[in-house]
Amino acid sequence: MQTMRWRWLAALVLALGVLAVGACGDDEDSGSGDAGTTSTAAPTFAAGTTMKKLQDAGEITIGVKYDAAPFGVKNPTSGEVEGFDVDLGKAIADELGVKAKFIEALSDNRIPFLKDGTTDLILSTMTITAERDEEIDFSEPYYVAKGRILVKKSDNDIKDVADLAGKKVCTALGSTYEETLKKQAPKAKLSLVDGYSECLELIQNGGVDAESTDDVILTGHIIQDDSLKLVGDELTQEPYGAGIKQGDKAFKDFVDGVIAKYKSDGRWATAYEKWVGQYTGEDQKPPTMTLQEALDLSK
């Protein structure tokens, strides 16, 4: 009788384990529920294309940043992720007539996510580089950011990239700044973290002296904490592209088409003003840089 009881207990534990695994399957859904509803007649696509597969599945999984305001940030009040990248993702989903599902993609794991099919598309402030182009395909540039340096307002030592020598500088692991800083500030001590929210924490608590990344992300930090300031000239130009699985030409053409329309019909300007312009006070036109120019820039 004693052993029977043990077997029941073991079976119960296993069953609970299986249930738990099953439940994990679909609680990643953090995206917007309303994205698919606005589109009317979605175009039809040939069988076998990524567009057709996504339409059959009824949703597109898009990797975005959760901590890179104002491009991709999880709103603590609503729990929804929002930003410039998210709006563009919704536009692409609308064009397909499917629901957009957003998951978090870090600088470090977004390319593997695309390769292993975890995401169908990446819109995560990703700079187009020739090196990355070997691994994945890029859309035409949809935004051009500029590399800058952020320090505390009270810091009078760091005025330019040359002053970073011997200083602790934070950026995201796997970002282009890892390389940019190694080149332009070889004597800086790099703190490579998972996301820019950690850089903000480190610069606030004094764990690092400076942070370097795209101006838009740094501006997001200044909005959160006005004891910080931008210094120095532009380090780099960072054209953002949507990441697409290597070799999927048809899907790339489709995404390029959506982006071109997005730029020309005024939606780009609206999104820019909503997410960037109102904070920086700068006017900007949709980028005219081509993918080839972006790739040449990184060489």
Partner: protein, 220 residues
């Protein structure tokens, strides 16, 4: 296959540096874990009820807080509180104090594993209490805990990977493997070498503890 080895040889500085950082980290944490763990275990088996409670409080605190939380609190938290702790101190202290809670529990169970009858027999044969502790209880307790201490050490080496992933961001084995991965896009290769790095350290620990066990084994 050669692609696998190319990733290692072309990034040997990153992998070697990561191994050295992790080795120093777990070395320092091990010393803290053993010293603090022994001290806390002594409190836990001591004669005073308040000291026993203090020991119990330590164990429950450090055993029930996730290591990542401990790392973040000890670094970002203390810095914000105005104590400019450096990354190494925060990392070694967190990992060491966390592991010490487990060490204390194992040492305590080792002492309790010696049967009460032996202690009574020893006392009735005329040994004093300290003599009984030194000659009868502790030698047996020590032998009993070698194997579980080995497990704790191995767990600590693997737990050290959380340091690199935390806000402390030391360039340990895992962190540097991720840097290689992001530079080369060779995901499997980078992580296979990270696994090999940890295996090297845990393998060394396993070997040391196996030797200790053999050296102090008693046939029962």
């Amino acid at each position: 296959m050669s692609a696998l080895f190319d990733v290692l040889t072309e990034n040997i500085d990153e992998f070697g540096g990561g191994l050295w950082v992790t080795a120093r980290l777990v070395g320092g944490a091990f010393v803290i874990a053993v010293i603090v763990g022994t001290f806390v275990a002594a409190l836990r088996i001591g004669p005073s009820v308040w000291l026993r409670r203090l020991g119990g409080f330590y164990v429950e605190t450090f055993r029930n807080v996730p290591l990542l939380v401990l790392l973040t609190l000890s670094y970002a938290g203390l810095r914000r509180a105005g104590l400019p702790i450096d990354p190494w101190t925060a990392a070694i202290a967190s990992l060491g104090l966390y592991t010490a809670a487990y060490v204390a529990e194992v040492l305590r169970s080792g002492v309790f594993a010696v049967s009460k009858g032996q202690i009574e027999a020893s006392l009735s044969l005329g040994f004093s209490y300290p003599q009984t502790l030194r000659r009868i209880v502790l030698p047996q307790a020590f032998r009993t805990v070698i194997a579980p201490l080995g497990s704790i050490t191995i767990a600590m080496i693997k737990n050290s990977a959380i340091v690199g992933a935390s806000i402390i961001a030391l360039g340990d084995v895992l962190k540097n493997a991720r840097i290689v991965q992001s530079d080369t896009f060779k995901t499997e290769e980078s992580f296979i070498w990270a696994a090999a790095g940890y295996l090297l350290l845990t393998g060394a620990a396993t070997l040391v503890f196996r030797l200790l066990e053999r050296r102090f084994a008693i046939t029962r």
